[in-house]
């Protein structure tokens, strides 16, 4: 059985020969392992793709999550200087901002003038919200621009390297995240209360663009799309707000992806124990993350009982408290418990809940393969 078949069988709620293993790496974790030029790793699609393959093979994963796509050369426009400021640390200087790229984490962007907080009433939805999505809102002040001419080239490049061996998944960002990024986090969250209808108009517009993006992505040789929706958990919004401002929009994207015959799973960080059934209502094929205590509040067994009849689960190793900080015995015990519980469910992929933290050492990641090979057999 190939790794790709293994993942696909699990995503179809069946049991392959053994539990598939497929973690998502944080950008920092990838760079800690590979030690590339940090700016090139972020901006150059081939360097990034080669890194994804190298890590998948190094750690024996069954699939590759492509968290960035649409690479191009536009990042060089307006670039005034690249400074090597330390080992594995570069500063890119533009007219309006400075970017620090380092091996330790995501790039840090500092604009020369601070963004001014927007009033929801002043937003011109038709004019300001793009009908075609040309960026990924990665983190605070950090956007990854998508180049139309090479929107999904990374997928064919990857298939050219790995053939049909591994399962390849694309990633898109939820409309709610685009909305938060556009308005500014606090402003956006207050706007849900002050002007809910305007928020829905903005979400609607983003949803149309993201549906097109997701649908086009599905024309590539990928097996699934992950919807990244990190701010839709209990740490931020109520289940009622989830139902009003997240679910209807994500459901439409999920429908568009499933119409193309691909699987789709949602990734929401932190506490989501109160909304598993709502997430199930989205029609997604699976859920990822399901952070356990203390980062979240999901018990894997309970999650399988509640939603496991219709959704696969990809999770839920605590990347910080198990992989990064626990001693060897605790780390192994934590992973074995998850493996045992996961095997009882219908569709299970062993993974970290959130992405592998940057400073997790190689041995800890290799341990996942070793334990899966020994104890993950069906």
């Amino acid at each position: 059985m190939t790794p790709r078949e293994r993942v696909n069988i699990a995503m179809s709620l069946s049991k392959p020969d053994k539990v598939p293993l497929m973690c998502q790496f944080s950008i920092g974790a990838m760079m800690q392992q590979l030690k590339p030029s940090p700016a090139l790793f972020w901006y150059d699609g081939r360097v990034f793709a080669d890194g994804l393959v190298a890590l998948c093979e190094r750690f024996g994963f069954d699939g590759i999550l492509v968290s960035l796509h649409g690479h191009g050369d536009r990042w060089r426009e307006g670039l005034m200087e690249i400074k090597d400021i330390d080992e594995g640390k570069q500063e890119l200087i533009y007219g309006n901002r400075r970017e620090i790229h380092s091996w330790s984490d995501l790039p840090m962007v500092k604009f020369n003038s601070a963004n001014i907080s927007r009033e929801i009433s002043s937003v011109d939805v038709e004019r300001e919200i793009p009908s075609h999505i040309d960026y990924i809102p990665v983190s605070q002040d950090l956007r990854f621009h998508l180049h139309k001419s090479n929107m999904f080239g990374i997928f064919s490049y990857l298939r050219g390297i790995v053939g049909g061996k591994y399962s390849i998944h694309g990633e898109i960002t939820s409309p709610f995240d685009y909305f938060l990024d556009f308005m500014g986090y606090e402003n956006a969250l207050v706007s849900l209360i002050i002007d809910p209808q305007k928020c829905k108009d903005i979400l609607e517009r983003f949803t149309k663009g993201i549906c097109l993006l997701a649908s086009d992505m599905c024309d590539e040789d990928i097996d699934a799309v992950k919807i990244s929706s990190p701010f839709a958990g209990m740490g931020f919004i109520s289940p009622e707000h989830y139902e009003e401002f997240v679910l209807p929009y994500e459901s439409r994207i999920i429908e568009a992806i499933k119409d193309k015959g691909k699987r789709v799973y949602i990734h929401t960080c932190g506490h989501i124990g109160d909304r598993l059934e709502l997430m199930q209502k989205s029609g997604a094929s699976g859920l990822e993350c399901l952070d356990p205590e203390p980062v979240g509040n999901v018990d894997l067994k309970d999650a399988f009982n509640r939603i496991g009849d219709s959704m696969f689960i990809k999770g839920n190793i605590d990347s910080v408290n198990t992989l990064l900080y626990a001693d060897e015995n605790k780390a192994r015990a934590d992973v074995l418990k998850i493996l045992e519980t996961g095997k009882q469910g219908n569709g299970f992929i062993l993974s970290t809940a959130c992405s592998i933290a940057p400073m997790v050492c190689s041995d800890r990641i290799l341990m996942l393969r070793e334990l899966t090979d020994r104890f993950g057999l069906y």
């Binding site: 920092g28 330790s104 984490d105 840090m108 500092k110 983190s139 605070q140 002040d141 986090y185 606090e186 969250l189 207050v190 849900l192 209360i193 002050i194 209990m234 740490g235 931020f236 919004i237 109520s238 707000h241 932190g270 506490h271 109160d274 203390p294 980062v295 990347s319 910080v320 408290n321 990064l324 900080y325 933290a357 940057p358 400073m359």
Partner: protein
Amino acid sequence: MNQILEQISICIQKGKVDSKMAYPPEMKGMPGADELTKAALDEGFSANDILSGALIHGMGIVGDLFREKRLFVPQVLMSAMAMKAAMVHLKPFFSSGELKQKGTFIIGTVAGDLHDIGKNLTAMMIEGAGWRVIDLGTDVKTERFLEVLNENGNAVVGLSALLTTTMEQMERSVKAIREHFPENRIVVGGAPVNSEFAKRIGASLYAPNPQVAVEYINSI
């Protein structure tokens, strides 16, 4: 509690800023924290009665509900807006010395980290508990914490980090603060932080949510 103070407290709890604000729907058209605070002063209530009997009381309830996950960030932000509207009327009493804050709380997200939601929420709740807050923003270098501590000797310091990689920076900052200001209390928080880590780096407290920080500094 007197009726008007109770009404102000309810406005804080419900995030009712002023009469123009349509939220919450069940209080549409009613006076909010803004008008009621002015009215209470006009009726002869002291600024201290209003601050401790209504505003701090209301924000305390908000903090408890947020900790219990019965209130969420948007509602807390609305409460903070209502608090801010009320505080406008009390500002002159701070300037005149009639009102005194409980102490000074210096807060910032550590160097290398630009995330600020958790830090901002904590700052709002601590301000709502009657403390003067000096918000140093994000990506705050150790030297900046030390500099501001030099100017505010008895202040409590709060450090936030969202990234696992910036936890190392948090450790460096906490150790430097400990070295220069061994008596000052240090509170740390953020998604990857826990009490074991806080203890190891020499912080006084790990606050998993803003209300824990409020209760701790109020108990000092």
